[in-house]
Every structure is written in C-alpha cells, then in structure tokens.
Amino acid sequence: MLGPYEYVVWLLGTLLECAVLVCAFKKNALRRYVLLNVYMAASVLFSIGRYNILSHYGFTSKEYLYFYYYSDSLLTIALYFALVSLYSHIFADLNAERYIRLGTVILLSGTALFSYAVVQQFSSKLVTHFVVELSQNLYFVGLVLTYILWAAVLKMRETRTQLIQLVLSMGVYFSLFAANFALQNLYHSRGSFFEFLTPLFGCFLPLSWAFTFWHVSEDARTVPSRLAVVPR
C-alpha cells in the first residue's frame, strides 16, 4: 500500500512540473523550448490520469499497472524528442537540422527494432513486453545522447547559460536514475532504500527546469569550455 511519503512526493513532482510550464510561460520560453514544455505538459496530464486510475481501481490493479507502463513509454518517447530538440538548438548555426532529424528517426527505429528482437521470444503479453522494453532502451539511448550533447556543448563552446543548464540537468537526471538502478541491482538487501529515493529523483528534472526558466535569462552567457581546459 502507498503511504503519505509516496503521495507527498508525487504531489510535489506534479506541482513542480506545473511550475515549469508557468515559469516558461512567464519568461517567454514556452515556444523556444516547445518540446521540453510538451513533455512537461504530458507529464502533468499523465500524472493526473494515473491518480484518477489509482484512486478508482487501486495501486495493484491491472488498470493502473497498464496505464502506468504505457504512459511511461509515451513519456520516454516525448523526453527523447525533447532531448533531440536541444541538439537542434546547439547545432542551429551549422544548419544540421536535416541530419539531426534523420539521425533521430534512425535511432528511434533502431531502438524499436532492437526492442522487438529482444521481446519476440515471449508468447504472451508481447505488446506490453515491447512497450516496457522500448521505454527502457530509449531511456539508455537518452542517457548516452545527453553525454554526447554535453561533449558537443564543450566542443562548440556554447555560451547560452539557459541551454547549458537544461543539458546539464538532463545529464544529472538520467545519471541519477541509472546510478540508483545499478546500485539497487547490486545491493538487493538495501533495495527499499533505493526505491525510497526513486520518486525523489523524479522531482529533480522539473525543479531544475523551473529554476532555469525562472532565474536564468535568455541573454545570460557562460563559458563551459573552460571546464575542458587542462591547466599546465
């Protein structure tokens, strides 16, 4: 059964997701980072939907279970496109939009094919297996893409603070979940502790995006390339 901690963190996460949309609207970043905001809006809507289903059918019901995993898969795809939109921002000067689109489609198709190849052995619940597997694989693709994007930020000497913070927050977010998941698998005896942390990590991305949209102006500049310079 769910305790007050789960409900409080869930509510906090959803409020932070709403805060991202409000901050983006107030600071005129709604259209500039449209896919990031679409992801946040979808996250809020699915959160409300999940709560409705949970309160009607219960936590262990099949309705909640299927809605949770199918909506998570859609959210992961939305997050993938949000991440790719950051690539478009970084490579805007190179007119690489066409190649980014091509790479996005190929990578998504490749991940879907790979996921299908993994789950095709299952005779029952094939679609559900596929949906969860795709979500998992796309998550790790997003993790790798974020690190590549950070390398591109350093290499291209990107100076837009807002963009840098959005990329960094995504990197930290993906890394937190991956590290938590790996530690959970390594230390099964302390699994409940890591499960306790997981929903808290879910609040990190909306918190950091809301902070970025609210506190960092569009014109702010910084020099991340200095991080890559090795002093002699």
Binding site: E17, L65, T76, I106, Q136, N137, F140, F174, G202
Partner: protein, 60 residues
C-alpha cells in the same frame, strides 16, 4: 551521401553504446525495470502476477 551514411553510423554507434551501458547496469538485475518519468509510484511489472515471492527455477 557520405554525410547521410555518417549519420547512420553515428546512430548505430549510439545504439550500441546505450545497449552496452544497459547491459552493464542490469547485469545483477532481478528483472525489475527502470522508470524515470515523473514521481508517481511504480507498480510491479506487468508480467509479474501478484506480489508473492518468486520460487527457485524448477530445473534447480
């Protein structure tokens, strides 16, 4: 043409890297899945029927 092929190659490299990373992360896994969207409580995986502890495999 060569640029398009480069994009295809890069996409495949990213996919291989991501799947390798996933393999490393879930090496000692118990079949649980990573869910990283929002802070809603995660239900058991759809193919786990009930919450009863899993017995050892029949061929042991």
């Amino acid at each position: 043409m060569s640029r398009k092929l480069t994009v295809v190659l890069l996409a495949m490299l990213v996919l291989v890297g991501a799947m390798s990373l996933k393999t490393v992360v879930v090496t000692h896994g118990d079949g649980s899945v990573i869910m990283a969207n929002g802070s809603a409580p995660q239900p058991p995986t759809p193919w786990k029927n009930g919450s009863a502890p899993q017995p050892p495999t029949p061929w042991k």
